[in-house]
């Protein structure tokens, strides 16, 4: 803010005045080069035409000659593992592999944007294992050829212990590139003391008590899904026509003054502070919020249905320690480890046998610790029953990037207003 003494105007003029036709020279040489240079600044892509299923020998090609190196760089999400990292310590004790776990992923979009340049240049991103959601970006990662094909021969615990639903994910047929880390449901969370009982999506559109007090997600996919389910369409089977209709339905909800705002992870605070009384919500968050802040928010899967999403272990194609990574993946499918992870994060555990393990562990405890663990073991948000699964829909699985862009363009105007 202090005024600069250097920039005497006459001095400045001396520097910039057109004296030797310097600019002309630049202009001449510049113009000729301009077109070529503009074109040279391209952004590399790695897309292949039929990426959904790997070539038959891709697995062998990738894994051939790869050995355990004793190091693992693991990219995870905040609050997605016990801060004391008991599972990772156990893993190190068992295998001798040192784990460098970092909570570097906060949102899928920015994460993809961050690692895309390195991956498309064939460089390491510094991580051997990353947990990514089955969102738009999962397809982008896969179709760009950024994910290593998994050698299922090295995943015996996954084969043995994963629940049936976690072996046939629509976004990754045959789990060629990913296996689940944890799943979660998207439903409605609400403050019963203010709203009374809420059972359906229709409440978020018409219940007069909720006018101006509804929170929706700003995530395009989550928002679109709710619009689709509101008009009675299963997102996984939806067509472009359905998207248009769902967008109109969501627009109506906004125009009728029901929506207070479109939130990212901050919806929890908005619910906690009374800014919204009912909101789109992720299952584990509400369980944790109630536990840590002693609140009593309800979480329901609306009668029209909710969605289930999955965060997945994946190995970046440029990983330096892929064998260590796949060993860690399989390690989390040992029942005891799956159970202890789920106990902390409270999201849906892909290993059904972990429920019995939790109950068995709870039986050995007493008092509050026992009750707390039993709460988790009995929670339908961690171990959904068949009745819950029946109400849950999968995301739209986009076949082409253009389809996904269409989806985004259809729903985005609602959020960006």
């Amino acid at each position: 803010m202090s005024a600069s003494n250097m920039s005497d105007p006459t001095f400045l003029r001396g520097l910039t005045q057109r004296r030797f036709g310097r600019r002309d020279a630049l202009r001449l040489s510049g113009l000729a080069g301009l077109g070529g240079a503009l074109a040279a600044c391209g952004v590399q892509g790695q897309g292949t035409q039929a990426p959904a299923s790997a070539e038959p020998d891709a697995v062998a090609k990738f894994w051939n000659g790869k050995v355990k190196n004793g190091t693992l760089n693991f990219a995870g999400w905040p609050l997605y593992m016990d801060p004391k990292r008991p599972e990772l310590k156990k893993f190190t004790a068992k295998t001798g592999i040192k784990v460098n776990y970092q909570e570097v992923i906060q949102e899928m979009g920015p994460w993809f944007a961050k690692v895309q340049p390195q991956l498309s240049a064939g460089q390491s991103i510094g991580f051997d294992l990353m947990v990514i959601t089955n969102s738009f970006q999962f397809t982008q990662f896969r179709d760009s050829g950024f994910l290593a094909p998994l050698d299922h021969a090295q995943l015996p615990n996954y084969a043995k212990n994963a629940g049936a639903a976690y072996k046939k994910e629509a976004f990754d047929p045959g789990n060629a590139y990913s296996i689940p880390y944890a799943s979660g449901m998207t439903g409605i969370a609400y403050d019963e003391s203010k709203t009374g009982k809420i059972e359906s999506l229709a409440d978020l559109w018409t219940n007069p008590k909720l006018k101006g007090k509804v929170g929706m997600f700003s995530d395009i996919q989550e928002l679109g899904n709710f619009g689709l389910m509101k008009i009675g369409v299963d997102p996984a089977k939806s067509t472009e026509d359905d998207w248009e209709k769902a967008a109109e339905e969501l627009k109506k909800q906004k125009d009728d003054g029901f929506v207070r705002n479109y939130y990212d992870q901050s919806y929890i605070e908005a619910l906690g502070s009374g800014e919204v009384w009912a909101t789109q919500a992720w299952s584990g968050d509400i369980f944790q919020k109630n536990l840590s802040d002693n609140t009593d928010f309800k979480f329901i899967i609306p009668s029209e249905g909710g969605t289930i999403w999955t965060d997945n272990f994946t190995i970046p194609i440029t990983a330096k320690n892929p064998v260590d990574a796949i060993m860690a993946m399989d390690f989390f499918y040992e029942v005891a480890n799956a159970s202890s992870l789920a106990e902390y994060i409270n999201y849906v555990c892909p290993v059904p046998a972990a429920q019995a393990d939790m109950r068995a562990r709870a039986a050995k405890l007493s008092g509050d610790a026992k009750d707390a663990l039993l709460d988790v073991a009995d929670s339908k948000l961690v171990y959904p029953t068949q009745a819950e699964y029946d109400k849950l829909h999968y995301y739209v699985a986009f076949e082409a990037t253009s389809e996904q862009q269409k989806f985004q363009k259809t729903f985005e105007p609602i959020v960006l207003g």
Partner: protein, 287 residues
């Protein structure tokens, strides 16, 4: 020999700044210009096709947000002048020995992260927070009344966050005013109001101009305040650009919007300079 040296010296002096500009401004700008004219998608890559239609499409899709951002920027800047001028005036003329401490107080908020401070406003202004709940309990505001998510909250955030950038340049301008000039005005029987209008304010104008540059441009392109304090009805163009870049990986649209925003801001600033008179702009540049 000396003559040659004298001729070269200015070029050598401008070299560090020039290289800096080239590497950190010209090259990225050029890459962005190229990007804005490319077509494709993130999976298959973007290729240069000279597809200028991205500009027209982006403008027609997001003109509302561009205009909204400018309106918020202008309102915030006017409020900033109205708030910062008296502050700077008081510090410059009545600050006495404690001027330094007062300026330090103005800068003190910078010791806490910008985003954190904005988030704390969210907590203050929230529906059942310390401001609105008591008013609601007293029946002074209706159940549905709220501040968060409205343009008021966003503009409040902008004004709050950019205040020091307006106070400091105005302070510098006022501080330079020779007290004898003011005394002379009084000697010539100007009352305080006239002195202010005819002497002090014109002399402070370069500071106001600098302050406007330092607040209007970042305020109009800001995306944090609207993101944290606003709602989907207050989306500013900075948020759109950020979404296009990071969420959608739609680099051409994001780059095109960045250029449009830059152009609009440049036009705004230059017409402002024009109205104010280039004389004053040069004065600012000369300081």
């Amino acid at each position: 020999m000396n003559r040659v040296k004298r001729q070269i010296a200015p070029y050598l002096l401008v070299l560090p700044g020039g290289i800096w500009l080239l590497i950190f401004f010209a090259v990225p700008m050029f890459a962005m210009l190229s990007l804005s004219l490319q077509e494709g998608d993130i999976v298959h890559g973007y290729r240069f096709t000279g597809h200028w239609q991205t500009y027209t499409e982006a403008i027609s899709a997001y003109q509302e947000q561009i205009i909204r951002s400018l309106i918020y920027g202008v309102i915030a800047t006017i409020l900033l002048i109205a708030i910062a001028f008296p502050m700077a005036y008081w510090i410059a003329f009545y600050g006495g020995r404690r001027k330094g401490s007062y300026l330090f107080l103005v800068l003190l908020p910078f010791f806490v992260s910008f985003v954190l401070r904005t988030i704390s406003w969210k907590q203050i202004l929230t529906d059942e927070g310390p401001v609105l709940q008591p008013l609601r309990d007293l029946g002074l505001i209706s159940q549905a009344f709220h501040i968060l998510g409205t343009p008021y909250a966003v503009i409040l955030g902008l004004v709050y966050n950019f205040l020091p950038f307006m106070v400091l340049p105005i302070y510098v301008a006022l501080e330079r005013i020779d007290p004898r000039v003011v005394e002379a005005a009084r000697d010539l029987y100007a009352n305080p109001a006239t002195t202010f209008r005819k002497v002090i304010f014109p002399l402070a104008l370069p500071g106001v101009f600098a302050g406007v540059l330092m607040t209007f441009i970042p305020a109009s392109s800001d995306f944090v305040n609207s993101e944290v304090l606003g709602s989907s009805d207050t989306t500013m163009i900075g948020q759109v650009i950020q979404t296009q870049f990071l969420e959608n990986s739609d680099y051409p649209t994001a780059s095109a919007l960045s250029f449009v925003l830059m152009l609009v801001l440049l036009i705004g600033v230059f017409s402002y300079a024009r109205i104010l008179g280039t004389e004053d702009v040069m004065k600012v540049a000369a300081r």
